[in-house]
Amino acid sequence: MTRKKPVVMIVDDIPLNIHVLAQCLSDRYEIRAANSGKRCLELLAAKSSDVDLVLLDVIMPEMDGYEVLRQLKCNKDIANIPVIYVTDKHEETDEEKGFALGAVDYITKPIRSAIVQARVATHITLKRQRDSLVQMATRDQLSGLYNRHYLFEAAEQAVAAACRHGRAISVLMCDIDKFKDINDQYGHGVGDRVIQAVADVLQVSCRREDIVARCGGEEFVVVLTRCDIPLARKKAESIRLAVQALTVLDRPVTLSIGIAMMSLACEHFEELMQRADLALYDAKNGGRNRVICADMTAELPPEPQAQAR
C-alpha cells in the first residue's frame, strides 16, 4: 500500500516567500498555501483537512503568527498539528514567545533549503510516529473503530458535557446475532470479515462527532451526542436494516441493538451502558435482529408515549 505524502501548509502574506519554501519541499510533501492567518485557520479547521505540519510566518497583516498559533491551540481538532515559525525575527525573546505558545521549531529567513528540509523532515517523522501511537492506543486493530479504552474515556467526557449543558445523549449497544455460529461454521477468517463489514456500516451511519467503538468480540457501542430516544431509535433502526442487507459468503448477518438515553439524574456513562445492555438482552430474548429501548420512565417526562419495552 502506498502511503500518502505528508502534507505541509505554508502560511505567508508574501507570495514569493511561499514559492521559495514550496520549491524546497514539493518533491517530498504535498503543499498547501495560505496567504493570511485567517485563511490558514479556515483551511485547517475544514473537515477534509489533512495537514501534518504548518510553516508559519510571524509578521503578517491583520492576524500575526502568534495569534494564529494561539487560536490553533484553542481548537482541539487541530491543536496537535506541529507548527514551525519561519521568520526573520531572530531575537531570543521572539523565539521564547513562539515556543511558549507551542511552536515546535524556528526557521529563519532568508531560508536555506537544506535546513528547511531537515527540520521539516524531523517534525514530520515525529508527527507520524505520534499519530501511529495514538492510532494504536485508541483504535481497534481489526475494525478500525475506537477501542474500549478510548470509548470509556471519551464517552465519560461526552456524557458529562451533555449533562452540564442539558443536552440529550444516547447509547446504542449492538451485538452481532449468532456470531459464535458464524465462527464455528465458517472459521475465524469469515468471522473477522463479518466484524469488519458491520463496523463499516456503523462508521458510515454515524456523524463525525459520534463515538463508534468495538467493545470486544462481536459487541459494538455507539455514543450519539445531541440525540434523544426517537432519533436514536431511528438511527438504530437504519443501522439494523443496513446490517441486515449485508451478506458475507451468502450468509445473512443481523444485529440486535439496545438503546438508552441519559436520564435527567445525569447518570454516569457506565450506568447508561448497563441500561443499554439490559435493553440489548431484551432484544436478544425477543428473537434478535431488533431494536429495544431501555426503561424510560425516569427520563422522558414530556413524552410519555416513548415507553419502554
Partner: protein, 230 residues
C-alpha cells in the same frame, strides 16, 4: 559596533538564490517576475511610511520588503531594509533619516539586475496540450467537457488550499496564450470563448495565493461554459 558599508553587500547574489532554488532555473524566472510585480507597491508603501515618519508602519513595510528581498538574494536591499526595520523598532528616527535616501537607489539597482537577467534568459513560450483538437484562428478547439472538468478539478484544489502551478495545467496554459473554441463531444462549435483575459487573471491570482478571488473567476468561467452547453 559599526555597520558594514552597503557596498560590501552584492546587489544581487544570484549564486545564493540558485542554491536556495536547488538549481531550478525556471523557478528563478518565475520568482523574479513575482518580485518585479510586487516590488513597486512594496517600495511605495515603505516610501510613504518613511515620508510620514510613522514608525510602526515603517517597521511593517520594511519587514515585508526585507523578507522578499532576502529570499530573492537581493542582499544590499535586504541589508538596508533590515537596518530600517531595526531602527524603527527602537524608534531611532535619526538613523531612519540616514537610511531612507538609499531605498530608491538600491531598489533600482536590484530591479535592473533582475530585469537584465530576465531579458537574457527569456525562453519562448511554448504550448502543448493533449486535450486540443487542432488549432484554428479563433483559438484552439477544445472539448467543453474537458474544459469543464479541468475547471471543476481546479475548484476543488483551490478550496483545499493546494499549492498549484497553473502553468502545469495544459488547458489553462493553452487558454491563456491562444484562447479556445469550445466544442461539443460531437465536434460542433459551442462557444468561441475569448477567455484569455480571465485565464491570465486566474493564473495570476493562483500564483499570488489569492484563492478566494481565484475561485470566483473559476465559478464564473464554469457558468459561462455551462450556460452555453445548457
Amino acid at each position: 559596533m559599526q555597520d558594514e558599508p552597503f557596498d560590501s553587500f552584492p546587489v544581487w547574489d544570484q549564486a545564493s538564490l540558485m542554491k536556495r532554488l536547488m538549481g531550478k532555473a525556471a523557478l528563478k524566472e518565475k520568482l523574479i517576475k513575482l518580485y518585479l510585480q510586487d516590488y513597486p507597491n512594496r517600495e511605495a508603501q515603505l516610501a510613504a511610511a518613511l515620508a510620514e515618519g510613522e514608525l510602526e508602519s515603517i517597521a511593517h513595510t520594511s519587514h515585508a520588503l526585507k523578507g522578499m528581498s532576502g529570499n530573492i538574494s537581493g542582499m544590499r536591499l535586504y541589508a538596508l531594509t533590515a537596518r530600517i526595520e531595526a531602527a524603527a523598532r527602537v524608534e531611532d528616527s535619526a538613523k531612519i533619516g540616514e537610511l531612507a535616501p538609499f531605498l530608491s537607489e538600491f531598489g533600482q539597482q536590484l530591479t535592473q539586475q533582475l530585469e537584465a537577467d530576465l531579458d537574457g534568459q527569456a525562453v519562448p513560450e511554448t504550448s502543448s496540450d493533449s486535450a486540443t483538437a487542432g488549432a484554428s484562428p479563433t483559438g484552439t478547439r477544445v472539448s467543453a467537457t474537458s474544459f469543464r472538468d479541468t475547471l471543476s478539478q481546479l475548484q476543488g484544489r483551490l478550496e483545499r488550499g493546494e499549492f498549484i502551478d497553473p502553468h502545469g495545467i495544459p488547458l489553462l496554459t493553452l487558454c491563456s496564450q491562444q484562447g479556445v473554441t469550445l466544442v461539443t463531444d460531437a465536434g460542433e462549435t459551442l462557444l468561441e470563448a475569448n477567455l484569455i483575459q480571465q485565464t491570465n487573471e486566474l493564473c495570476d491570482l493562483i500564483e499570488r495565493f489569492d484563492f478566494q478571488p481565484a475561485l470566483s473567476v473559476v465559478v464564473s468561467m464554469m457558468q459561462l461554459v455551462s450556460g452555453e452547453s445548457g
